[in-house]
Structures are given as structure tokens and as C-alpha cells.
């Protein structure tokens, strides 16, 4: 099963349940905002999405991951808007029979997410300036 959500407030993690009796591995990944971007101190990142396309592409990617790897469930939440340093911006949970396929699926899913999902981040610097995250000035 796949669950994908793009949320504008703090991420509530998916519950860790004891009823996945065919799954020996429950993998949880939380991507969090670092205090520096390209060596500069920041206050927060502001995530921007292409409304509609981002969720469609993310759902498609999650389904592709479930077909490519023998995993049972992939749940993903991606936060949009201002995310303060230390907070979670990406939360992924994968349930699989064994750890190997779950770990491989997690790595592939996140790599592909960073290649194709139309979501961008703006760095909010200490003086309040907002610049595209890749921009060095």
C-alpha cells in the first residue's frame, strides 16, 4: 500500500504498528533542516511545490518503488512552507519482509525524489533574506 501526503504544517509521523506480521523490517527516515546551507547560517528553509504535479509525481514514484522492490508498504509525507532548523521536512516509512529490500528501496526512493519531484527550497537567512537554496549570493 502507498500513502503520500504533502502537508503544510508540522509532520505527524506515521504510527509504528505491531500488526505487520509478515514484515520483519520497518524502516523510518526523517529528513531534517540543517542549520547551514552552503556554509551560511540559516533560520529556516521554505519549501515550494508545483501544486498538483508534485503530489501526482510523488504518488507515481512511490508506486514505482513498490513495483521495483519487493516491499509491502511505502508511506511518505513531505512538508511545504517554512520549516525551521531541526524540524522534519520529509518522513518516509517502508515495511518489508527483510531489511535488505527495504533499505535498497528507501535509498532509491529518496534519490529519485530528489531528481524528479517538483519541490524546491528557499533558504531564509539570518537577516530574513529569502534566496533559492542553490543560489550562493
Amino acid at each position: 500500500m502507498v500513502i503520500v501526503e504533502i502537508v503544510s504544517g508540522p509532520i505527524t509521523p506515521f504510527p509504528s504498528e505491531d500488526d505487520h506480521q509478515q514484515d520483519g523490517a520497518e524502516l523510518v527516515f526523517n529528513g531534517r533542516v540543517r542549520a547551514t546551507e552552503h556554509g551560511e547560517n540559516i533560520m529556516a528553509l521554505e519549501y515550494e511545490q508545483y501544486d498538483g504535479m508534485a503530489e501526482t509525481e510523488l504518488t507515481q514514484l512511490a508506486n514505482e518503488t513498490c513495483k521495483k522492490f519487493p516491499i509491502h508498504d511505502l508511506f511518505c509525507k513531505h512538508r511545504i512552507g517554512k520549516v525551521s532548523v531541526g524540524e522534519t521536512s520529509l518522513h518516509v516509512v517502508i515495511w518489508s519482509k527483510h531489511r535488505k529490500e527495504g533499505l535498497e528501496a528507501m535509498i532509491w526512493f529518496i534519490i529519485e525524489l530528489k531528481k524528479r519531484i517538483p519541490i524546491w527550497k528557499w533558504a531564509i537567512l539570518e537577516d530574513g533574506t529569502r534566496i533559492p537554496s542553490e543560489c550562493k549570493h
Binding site: A54, I117, W120
Partner: protein, 81 residues
């Protein structure tokens, strides 16, 4: 003439200073020609920035002819996660 909407994100938004553009184009204008127009409007600020093209919220791998009412996004490198 055809009318199209251009959505601007991240570096494209930063370069053009707007979130969205409404443009009137000659019939037969292609996605590559519109990209050239956008890059020229950015006056060098998008030089070296690789842009993928989405038309009506789907990536298009090749140059296509634009149609009246299309929504186009020139997608700079994405940064989710």
C-alpha cells in the same frame, strides 16, 4: 494567436521576479522557442541552469508545439527532501 500560462519556480521565479506569466504567442510556437524567450527575458540569470519542461503538469521529453490554454513550467533542478 494562442495564450499560455508559464509557472515560475525557484531559480526561474528568482530570475524573472514573478510567480506566473500570461503570454500571447504565435500559433506554432514550440516549447523550445518559449524556453529561449524565457531565458532571454532573464537576461543571463538562467545561464547554465538546466531546465526541464512540463506541459499541463507532465514532463515532456522532447520539443512540442504549444496549444492555446497550455500551462508550461520550466523546471529548474528540484530540491525536495
Amino acid at each position: 494567436m494562442i495564450q499560455v500560462k508559464v509557472k515560475c519556480f525557484s531559480q526561474v521565479q528568482y530570475a524573472l521576479g514573478v510567480n506566473e506569466l500570461s503570454l500571447e504567442l504565435e500559433p506554432g510556437t514550440t516549447s523550445a522557442e518559449l524556453e529561449e524567450l524565457v531565458r532571454n527575458t532573464a537576461q543571463g540569470k538562467l545561464d547554465g541552469v538546466i531546465l526541464r519542461i512540463a506541459v499541463n503538469q507532465k514532463y515532456v521529453p522532447v520539443e512540442i508545439e504549444l496549444k492555446d490554454g497550455d500551462e508550461i513550467a520550466f523546471i529548474p533542478p528540484v530540491q525536495g527532501g
